[in-house]
């Protein structure tokens, strides 16, 4: 499980202070599939980065899987990321010079698995996302949907408890988006907790829990989305100035 209590996150640039999260509270249970929506600049990515230990925060309490994160140093946070968290990014973030096999291998090497163990996991996960026969291909030789599948295989190969995804379908057309969503639902059904930021109201409704972030705070909702978020089309998505600025 994941618990955030009164998390405060401030970005400071030369003269501007941006309160990206203010009194952010959230509890995610094991096995949840949480869809996070909200206007641009509301703090969704900030939340996800903190949840994924990519960024630190100013105030509040954050427990991940029973571990109090506040006082962990960089090395410990890296290890926790490696062991407990899988990341899926909007722009896939595959390493262009590595073939699919080596891409999925990246987190497994940091984990210190043996060669056989890594090979087994890489093959298994690439097969699971339907790319078992293209392991020697480079990312550039794949479609966007396929690349995102590789990224998902990479995120899952270490069998993390949490899968964090920041607009994983943001760069995909709707049919590819739907197939990635189906994959995520499968993964969730197998026990992995998923937190997914999305602008796609249709996809959000397929999650078993929706939270809405606005102005750096959580407002849990049923199914209906704010008109503002609903009218966002990924392809037209432009970054707008956050309310908090």
């Amino acid at each position: 499980m994941l618990t955030m209590k009164d998390i405060k996150k401030i970005y400071r640039t030369d003269s501007i202070e941006t309160h990206a999260l203010r009194d952010f509270n959230l509890h995610v249970n094991e096995g949840d599939f949480v869809a996070v929506t909200g206007p641009s600049g509301s703090g969704k990515t900030t939340f996800l980065n903190i949840a994924g230990l990519l960024e630190t925060f100013e105030e509040g309490r954050f427990e991940l899987d029973g571990v109090d994160i506040s006082h962990q140093n960089d090395a410990a946070r890296s290890r926790l990321r490696n062991q407990k968290i899988g990341f899926v990014f909007q722009s896939f973030n595959l390493i262009p010079d590595l073939n699919l096999f080596d891409n999925v291998d990246v987190p497994l090497r940091y984990r210190g698995f043996s060669r056989q163990e890594r090979k087994k996991r890489i093959e298994h996960n690439l097969e699971m996302v339907g790319l078992g026969n293209r392991m020697k291909h480079l990312p550039a030789q794949l479609s966007g949907g396929q690349q995102q599948r590789v990224a998902i295989a990479r995120a899952l190969a270490g069998e993390p408890r949490f899968l964090l995804a920041d607009e994983p379908t943001g760069n995909l057309d709707s049919s590819m988006a739907q197939s990635v969503m189906a994959l995520l639902k499968d993964i969730n059904a197998n026990g992995t907790t998923i937190i997914m930021v999305t602008h796609d109201a249709g996809l959000a409704t397929q999650a078993n829990r929706n939270i809405h972030v606005s102005d750096g705070k959580v407002s849990e909702k049923a199914m209906s989305l704010s008109p503002e978020a609903a009218q966002f089309k990924p392809s037209q998505h432009k970054r707008v100035v956050g309310l908090s600025e």
């Binding site: 996800l48 890296s78 490696n82 722009s91 010079d97 940091y110």
Partner: protein, 416 residues
């Protein structure tokens, strides 16, 4: 709660395979750096080899007390100038001065570049080949003045000393030689050469009455620089050179003293070419020293340029791979893993460089050996050069690698 297994430190997780495969997709930059490393290694290793060779030569002892010796020439010009008398008066005067250990008339000086040479043979007759040797003509003060030690036999006695006229061709019947010369004349016999007869001018016998441990001929570039003979002679010539050994630390004072006293004592001659042996050594090896300075400069510049090249390429690739680095951090890379990635990548590039460099080093050495008749390079220069260039690479890449490790993990989600 955390995985009990911490990341293994064994090479199988050190990403050597992926780094190598990624490098193969970005060959050009890596190859340029590898070639630069190879080129630098080739030049540096051969330069160091030449420097060591040269400075070994420069380290060879001349056998004399260089720090406390000097020499000065006297050239008589007046009609009533009596060479022999003047020489004896001059030597008596110099030897009586405070601070002087001993002084001798000598025809040539080690390290000075000019002197006499003759040839000695072990059997009489024109059909036999001789061994080339430098000749120093000295009286019984010679060994003490030069500060060379006998290892066998005895010094010349005053009655041994003969007067040599300028046009004279025959030689005294006694000779002292160096141990090196003894070994050359009588291989493997060493000190047993004492008492043996050698022949000069093909047929004139000389008995070896003494062997000294070490003394160099005047020509430092000569391969047989330790082939030296000393003969018991005083020269009757208008031009006479005196070699003076002083007590430690008194040389410069004594030089002034000798010059002014000699000038006062006899106005029928001029004094010239007064030089310390230290100064003579500097002149003898001036070309070597210049060559060493040039090589050191070239080497230093090359290493710096190569180092900067590596820093440049690594910084460039760190900047280009910011997002990838952020992603790796998001996937669990520690800062150490990122540093290690760039160090390993550099190690692989350097390895290609030093392997090519080893081959080029040998090729250049063969050319140099051929052109300057040096000995071929000792094998261990090659691995030492490889290690040195590896180290240069690792040092150069360390800064950029640390910069890479400080890239924020959040770049994975924040950059487009």
């Amino acid at each position: 709660m955390t995985d009990s297994k911490s990341p293994s430190f064994f090479a199988e997780n050190w990403e050597i395979g992926p780094i190598f495969r990624a490098l193969l997709r970005n060959k050009v930059g890596a190859m340029l750096i590898a070639l630069q490393i190879a080129f630098t290694m080739t030049i540096v290793v051969n330069a160091i080899y030449i420097i060591v060779e040269r400075s070994d030569k420069m380290q060879r002892p001349s056998g004399i007390d260089e720090a406390n010796s000097f020499y000065i020439s006297s050239v008589g010009f007046s009609h009533d100038f009596n060479s022999l008398v003047t020489t004896q008066e001059d030597l008596n005067l110099i030897r009586s001065l405070d601070g002087v250990i001993d002084a001798v008339q000598i025809n040539a000086v080690p390290l000075s570049g000019s002197g006499w040479s003759m040839s000695l043979q072990t059997q009489p007759g024109t059909e036999f080949d001789g061994t080339g040797t430098a000749v120093y003509m000295i009286d019984e003060h010679g060994l003490n003045s030069l500060d060379v030690a006998l290892v066998a036999g005895e010094n010349f006695s005053p009655t041994d000393i003969q007067t040599r006229q300028s046009s004279q061709t025959h030689w005294p019947d006694k000779v002292i030689i160096t141990l090196a010369m003894a070994n050359r004349l009588f291989p493997d016999e060493g000190l047993a050469a004492l008492g043996k007869t050698v022949y000069i001018n093909d047929i004139e016998p000389m008995i070896i009455t003494g062997i000294v441990d070490q003394l160099q001929a005047p020509w430092v570039g000569w391969d047989n620089v330790e082939n030296v003979m000393l003969t018991p002679e005083i020269r009757d010539a208008k031009s006479s050179r005196y070699f003076v050994r002083t007590k430690p630390g008194q040389r410069d004072r004594v030089m002034n003293e000798v010059e002014s006293q000699l000038a006062k004592s006899n106005s029928g001659r001029i004094l010239r070419d007064m030089r310390s042996v230290e100064g003579t050594r500097l002149r003898a090896y001036r070309d070597n020293s210049a060559m060493i300075s040039i090589l050191v400069t070239v080497m230093t510049i090359l290493v710096i340029v190569t180092g900067l090249g590596i820093v440049g390429l690594a910084s460039f690739s760190v900047n280009q791979r910011k997002k990838q680095i952020g992603t790796r951090r998001a996937l669990g890379a520690s800062q150490l893993s990122i540093v290690r990635y760039f160090m390993l990548e550099n190690f692989l590039i350097s390895s290609a460089g030093v392997v090519i460099g080893a081959a080029l080093t040998i090729v250049l050495n063969i050319v140099l050996v051929d052109a300057f008749s040096l000995d071929p390079i000792a094998w261990y220069y090659i691995p030492l050069g490889m290690v040195a260039l590896w180290l240069v690479g690792q040092l150069a890449v360390f800064g950029p690698a640390r910069k890479a490790a400080n890239i924020a993990p959040a770049l994975a989600t924040r950059s487009v």
